[in-house]
Amino acid sequence: MDFNKLFQLIVAASLINNFVFTRFLGLCIFFGVSKKMETSVGMSITFTAVMVISAALSWVVFTFLMRENGLYPGYPDLTFLKIIVFIGIIAAFVQSADTIMKKVSPALYYKLGIYLALITTNCIILAVPLINAGEGYTFLESMAFGVGSGLGFALALVIMASIREKLELADIPAPFKGLPISFIVAGLIALAFTGFSGLITL
């Protein structure tokens, strides 16, 4: 097990190629949820969990059922179906997680359940399996990438939420109130994150 590579992947996914600030994924959710610290924390936990599990599921399906010579030598190359299959896996997983959580722990469901509905076909959840498939990571590397992406997203949400809570009370010119000023704030944070590039040459 190449621990160094796994650690580098986590750092790369969370800081250097941060999903929100460098890759611009998950922006709709990002701007929608980061208004309050409470919702941000809940959302990040749900996200990381869904990301990691769906990355694992998609990896298994991709490697064994879609790649050439997956199940047996001579297995056809079905990778062109990856978009459809990944979306299917994620939607099915989120739906089942929703149902299971409702039955198994209603308290947790009422706390986090609403976020599950929001993230079903979010670009950031879909991006993790797609990047894993594109880069050809092993199982552990995919998991590490998923964990790193979740952490990066959580970091982005928490930073943004703490700023936005203060922004509510600031004196902003009328055309910029709401979304435009959030974009500019995000731009400033993205500028800071540019400082991470080159931290690890991956």
Partner: protein
């Protein structure tokens, strides 16, 4: 929304201006910053979205009488994913250099809320031609937003447009970095809000003068 009473041309204009995906409704934002670092990328992304949006609206409208409402969400996802896969593979085959830069974002068109929302809200309840018009309008609105954002970003960030150098001297490098993307969209959104506010002011002033005159 009484879309059934609007003419097709009005539907197209609706998608381009009053319900423009990026600037008015602020959904499907992810690619708007990622691919607008050059006019070429923004152009191809916009064209892809026009294709997918129009074809999805067309297909959903064609099969709208055969869809069981309970399973409509997976069906929409399959239709959208199918067309996105189509354009993803075409681009990979015929436009390899562009695909290397925006490939991931083309694949993520499948997660666009706007395409899904139009299918759900419009295409499933309307006939074929209005649905195509609506899809075209929304797609062209997205395309215009891409062009506007990438125009500014590339001009300021590289002093070039579509790879052709236009302005000499040191460009503002930040504009083509991720941070610049956020700034560009935020400033443009603020600008559009300001324009909107001014137009509303002028309209209100006009109406009060008309009332006073009458």
């Amino acid at each position: 929304m009484a879309h059934t009473h609007k003419s097709n041309w009005e539907l197209i204009k609706n998608g381009m201006f009053s319900e423009n995906t990026i600037f008015r409704m602020a959904i499907s934002l992810c690619p708007s910053i990622a691919v607008t670092n050059s006019l070429k990328n923004g152009f191809f992304m916009g064209v892809s979205v026009i294709f997918v949006q129009t074809m999805v609206n067309l297909t959903v409208s064609l099969i709208r009488n055969f869809i069981n409402p309970k399973i409509r969400i997976p069906i929409f996802m399959m239709v959208i994913a199918g067309y996105v896969s189509l354009i993803d593979m075409s681009m990979a085959a015929f436009a390899r250099p562009i695909y290397k830069q925006i490939g991931l974002y083309i694949q993520l068109i499948v997660a666009f809320a706007s395409i899904f929302a139009r299918a759900e809200v419009f295409a499933v309840k309307n006939k074929i031609i209005p649905s195509v018009a609506d899809g075209l309008g929304m797609g062209i609105g997205f395309f215009l937003a891409m062009i506007i954002i990438s125009f500014f970003r590339e001009l300021l960030g590289k002093g070039a447009l579509w790879g052709f150098p236009i302005v000499s001297g040191n460009p503002l490098l930040i504009m083509i970095l991720p941070a610049g993307g956020f700034f560009a969209v935020g400033l443009l959104m603020g600008f559009f809000n300001w324009v909107d506010a001014k137009l509303a002011e002028r309209k209100a002033a006009q109406e009060t003068t008309e009332k006073l005159a009458a």
